[in-house]
């Protein structure tokens, strides 16, 4: 709770610094704010929550989601130093907005009440609409923001409708132990709410926005979208399922299975034929969401860690990939596969970290990606969706195809002149990569850390 306050205040301060003259402090301040909030969350005093009539509680699983969000944000923020190129007002705006979006994310993963859920989602989404349109002159960015905005608010409306039905069914906006749950209305509201969530985390068939938006949005902000937004979305999803899991009807598993199947197929098939790396990653993120959803089927407090593990692995990997894409774009001016050709010659470090990140996304052993897949697949297999597991794995072969298409491009011999990025950026990327491998080699550690 205090984390939320810290972030909000600091974001307001930063917006203010944008006008005033002390601009050097923006990034350090934001960074300090993030670390402070991370520490607050880690200490986890729940002092404030009763003042908010238990609408927010940062407890066991939501706490780890919030921590994850802050940690990922801390990993991303160093790269926002690149924003200085774009002049300081914008820097201030974007940093402020991102901090606010993190506030929204934290609220999303820790809500106890539909109102806070809606509030969090909207804070996050509206911030993202703005970031999507960050390149005001570029039509692509503009189109991305329009699409994200229309579809997003449409989805929010759907979600809100679901919430209203839920309210009508249970007679309370609190998600804790709802009453009268065996009414048709309640189950229908569940259907709608889950569809809304599926939109936010880009699950098929509610995934259409993701490719276009990722492609149009400035890549640095895509990093935020593909990590923080996704974690927050799944956090909210998980919170809801956790709160309802005692009373969820049985057909909901089939509903999930169907969504997973759809995501696997659509994501893989579309990614298979792309030539723009950002689009490939966008569609692959649909597939990854499908895998993550496997972790949500019959979720309970005991196995929520597997979901968190997957989100961590995915977030780390996609930070690396999108940052590398960003640098390549800076150099070659496009995110087409051809502009990756010869990266191994022109910038070996980026090539290697990108390869490892992609390998992890594909799910090769000794990377975090493999472990996370192992967990979730074992989860669905243990509840009897063996066929689904097999299909998912068979389709994963396709995902290997497009991930390694990128690696092939990077290691193709056409190496032109060397170019390098600032040392600290490479250092952070390498650090994240090491984290990926570490998580893969010692999977028990994270679970132990989460307790």
């Amino acid at each position: 709770m205090s984390a939320i306050i810290i972030l909000t205040i600091s974001s307001l301060l930063i917006l203010f610094f944008g006008f005033s003259k002390q601009r050097g402090v923006i990034l350090p301040l934001s960074f300090i704010a993030l670390i402070a909030s991370f520490a607050m969350l880690a200490m986890g005093n729940n002092f404030w929550s009763e003042y908010l009539t238990n609408m927010i509680s940062i407890q066991s699983s939501s706490k780890s989601f919030a921590l994850l969000i802050c940690a990922i944000a801390i990993c991303i923020f160093p790269f926002f130093h690149e924003l200085i190129k774009r002049g300081n007002e914008e820097l201030a705006d974007f940093i402020g907005i991102i901090l606010l979006s993190i506030v929204g994310a934290i609220i999303m993963v820790s809500y106890q009440n539909m109102m806070t859920l809606f509030l969090g989602i909207e804070i996050l989404s509206i911030a993202m609409y703005v970031l999507a349109g960050a390149n005001r002159r570029s039509v692509n960015s503009n189109e991305a923001s329009i699409k994200y905005f229309i579809l997003g608010s449409f989805a929010s409306a759907i979600l809100l409708f679901g919430i209203a039905l839920y309210y009508a069914a249970t007679g309370s906006l609190s998600v804790i132990n709802p009453k009268l749950i065996n009414s048709e209305l309640y189950q229908f509201s569940l259907l709608i709410i889950f569809s809304g969530f599926s939109f936010k985390v880009a699950l098929a068939p509610f995934h259409f926005w993701v490719a276009d938006v990722y492609q149009g949005t400035p890549t640095l902000f895509v990093t935020v979208m593909s990590t923080i937004v996704k974690i927050a979305g799944f956090g909210a999803f998980a919170q809801f399922v956790l709160s309802q899991n005692s009373v969820l009807p049985s057909w909901i598993n089939w509903f999930f299975a169907f969504i997973i199947l759809a995501s696997m197929f659509i994501g893989n098939i579309f990614a298979y034929s792309q030539s723009s790396v950002k689009r490939i990653l966008a569609f692959s993120s649909v597939v990854q969401s499908g895998f993550i959803l496997m972790g949500i089927i019959n979720l309970d407090a005991n196995n929520s860690w597997s979901l968190i593990y997957y989100l961590t692995a995915y977030a780390l990997a996609s930070i690396v990939t999108f940052i590398v894409v960003y640098f390549v774009e800076e150099q070659a001016g496009s995110d087409h596969l051809d502009s990756f050709a010869g990266l191994s010659k022109s910038n070996p470090v980026l090539a290697v970290v990108m390869s490892i990140a992609l390998i992890s996304l594909a799910g090769v052993p000794l990377t975090a990606g493999f472990m996370s897949k192992l967990y979730v697949l074992r989860n669905i297999n243990s509840i009897g969706f063996t066929a689904l597991m097999v299909i998912a794995l068979v389709l994963a072969a396709v995902s290997f195809y497009y991930y390694f298409k990128i690696i092939n491009a990077m290691f193709s011999p056409s190496g032109d002149r060397r170019w390098s990025v600032h040392f600290s950026y490479s250092a952070v990327l390498v650090f994240i990569t090491i984290a990926i491998i570490f998580l893969g080699v010692m999977p028990g550690v994270l679970h132990g850390f989460l307790g």
Partner: protein
């Protein structure tokens, strides 16, 4: 003397010779190479002599070490068996081997690869000795394939000539076809009798003297191996081509020793052959057919070595007929005599070729007796021996085979008799056209024609003497009660079969033989001492055409076996691999590409469509929810 030492002396010297010559031969003087090479077989021969005097009529098993423990009960060791049969074979192998080594020193002296040649000969002898002495089937098989390998190496000795290479490969592959049968037989034996040791096998065979299907299969498969190695139908066509090798090779491998390995094998396994009359019938007829076909083909050959090659095939046919009749000892007897005179014939033919500077076509020879009288003499002896002129070696052994055939099966006897007439015909044809009459070739060669050096003649003399006296080891009872070979081999080959023929039959047979020989000699003399080459032209019609084309056997094999395989393989390479397998396996990928193209319209970029499709998706879920 300790049996192990003797065995080692029999076994290893040739291998040592091979290793020394093979590694250092290129740097050593030719005489030294020749010396080392000859030392090997000579040592083995001496050792055999010692063995003969120390363990006669016993069967001495020497186990050097475990090769592999095949199953719980089947122990496969480097185990050797010195009994009378193997000793007799050792005499032939090492004795003839030694002579031919000596001969080769003279014959191959000019060749660049002299050391290589000697090394290969030694290796061959080593494999042959393993084959002869082996006490279990896998070890025998080791020798069996080893000799095949050496014949491959030696046929293709002049490897810059591609035809020779082809001949070598043909020989090896055809042998391998037989070897497959052999090895399958070994498996069946191992499964059925749970041992591969000859001694135990013979006991078990004699205990269970049944004509069961599995036994029939075992014998048939074994005989398939024999057809490969001993050049019987249908696998004999490699032997004539094998004449591509240097003449000593033809003498040693493709006349005296290797090709008789099959006969030896059957004699070893006599017990199981005795209990399967069905297989014996097959063997008899295959042997007869081989003898007949080969003999007839030989009538029309003009290459001096080819004639001898076909005669070898037909003589092997004789032996196989004897085996089929169950007269194993007779077969071995003929193996021995045949080793003598056929080696003699090949070597003297080699001496002729040597003298004429590589000329092999008898159409270009004639009247050579004046030029090379010693060679002429020994060749004459060899000829008389093979046609069975009394009292030379061939006479007794062949007569015995005929007698056996007569006592078993009259038609076969008649067939064999016909074959021996053919034999007489082509041998005398060969002799007359080579040594009698006038010279028909170009005179440049005639002037250079010369008698071979002593080192080549000496083995010829020894073999000539052997071909004269060789028969006396097996006198028929008409002459003497004591049949030396028979009584010598009985301890190893104690088969029950007896063949009794009346003395009158013997006398009739002999007189008939002499008369026929005289007639044939006269006719061939008339025909082949003429100056014109017309007698040697390949006829273009009638039976002559069939014979001079060797019944088109090679062409037929080419047509029905090799060509289809080649077409199949090409089809695999060009079409099936790509279309039949690759595309089928990758079809999911193609489907995926199609799907990706087709579904591309879903991602049309228009917001309304996105919302529409989202709604459709939602409705699907809603219907699920209704149905649930």
């Amino acid at each position: 003397m300790n049996s192990t030492i003797i065995l080692n002396l029999m076994l290893w010297p040739s291998l040592i010779g091979f290793i020394i010559n093979g590694i250092f031969g290129s740097r050593m003087s030719k005489n030294l190479v020749g010396l080392i090479a000859c030392a090997g077989p000579l040592t083995s021969f001496v050792a055999t002599v010692i063995a003969f005097f120390s363990f006669r009529d016993t069967s001495t098993i020497v186990d050097l070490y475990t090769w592999f423990q095949f199953t719980k009960n089947i122990y496969v060791g480097f185990t050797f068996n010195i009994d009378n049969l193997s000793m007799l074979m050792m005499f032939i192998v090492s004795g003839v081997g030694t002579l031919i080594h000596i001969y080769s020193i003279g014959y191959m002296h000019e060749d660049k690869g002299f050391w290589r040649f000697m090394a290969y000969l030694n290796l061959f002898l080593f494999s042959m000795i393993i084959l002869v002495l082996a006490n279990n089937l896998p070890l025998l098989f080791a020798g069996w394939e080893g000799v095949g390998l050496c014949s491959f190496l030696l046929i293709g000795f002049w490897f810059s000539n591609d035809e020779y290479n082809a001949a070598a490969k043909k020989a090896f592959v055809m042998n391998r076809i037989g070897d497959l049968g052999f090895i399958l037989a070994v498996f069946l034996i191992a499964k059925t009798y749970d041992t591969l040791d000859f001694k135990l096998l013979t006991q078990k065979f004699l205990e269970s003297g049944l004509n069961t299907p599995v036994n029939i299969w075992i014998t048939i498969l074994l005989f398939v191996g024999v057809t490969g190695k001993s050049a019987q139908l249908p696998l004999f066509t490699w032997l004539p081509d094998a004449m591509a090798g240097p003449t000593p090779v033809s003498a040693l491998i493709h006349a005296a020793t290797m090709v008789t390995a099959g006969v030896y094998l059957v004699a070893r396994m006599f017990a199981i052959f005795d209990m399967t009359p069905f297989t014996q019938q097959i063997i008899v007829y295959i042997g007869l057919a081989t003898a007949f076909i080969a003999a007839t083909i030989a009538l029309k050959q003009n290459d001096i070595k080819k004639v001898l090659a076909y005669s070898t095939v037909s003589q092997l046919g004789y032996m196989v007929v004897a085996l089929g009749c169950g007269a194993y000892i007779t077969a071995i007897f003929h193996v021995m005599t045949h080793a003598f005179f056929k080696a003699l014939l090949f070597l003297s033919a080699g001496s002729v070729i040597h003298g004429l500077g590589g000329e092999q076509n008898i159409a270009n020879m004639g009247g050579l007796k004046s030029k090379m009288k010693w060679t002429h003499l020994v060749f004459l002896i060899g000829t008389l021996a093979i046609v069975g002129f009394p009292p030379l070696a061939g006479f007794f052994s062949k007569d015995e085979i005929l007698a056996v055939a007569f006592s078993k099966n009259i038609p076969v006897f008649i067939g064999l008799g016909l074959c021996s007439v053919f034999t007489a015909w082509y041998m005398f044809r060969l002799y007359f056209s080579t040594f009698q009459g006038e010279y028909r070739g170009d005179h440049h060669k005639w002037d250079h024609a010369h008698e071979s050096p002593m080192i080549m003649l000496f083995p010829l003399f020894v073999l000539a003497i052997l071909s004269i006296i060789g028969g006396f080891f097996g006198m028929p009872e008409v002459i003497s009660e004591h049949h030396a070979i028979d009584s010598f081999l009985k301890p190893s080959i104690f088969s029950k079969n007896v063949f009794h023929v009346s003395h009158t039959f013997d006398y009739m047979l002999w007189t008939l033989t002499v008369l026929v020989l005289a007639l044939v000699m006269y006719l061939t003399y008339k025909r082949y001492t003429a100056k014109s080459k017309s007698a040697y032209d390949a006829q273009s019609e009638g039976i002559g055409k069939v014979l001079s084309n060797k019944y088109w056997l090679d062409e037929i094999y080419e047509l029905i076996i090799i060509k289809p395989l080649r077409i199949l393989s090409d089809w695999f390479n060009r079409v099936f691999e790509r279309v039949g397998i690759d595309d089928v396996i990758q079809s999911p990928g193609f489907v995926l590409q199609r799907a990706a193209k087709g579904l591309g319209i879903l991602q049309s970029g228009s917001i309304s469509y996105y919302i529409l499709s989202m709604i459709i998706g939602f409705i699907i879920f809603f219907l699920m929810f209704i149905k649930k």
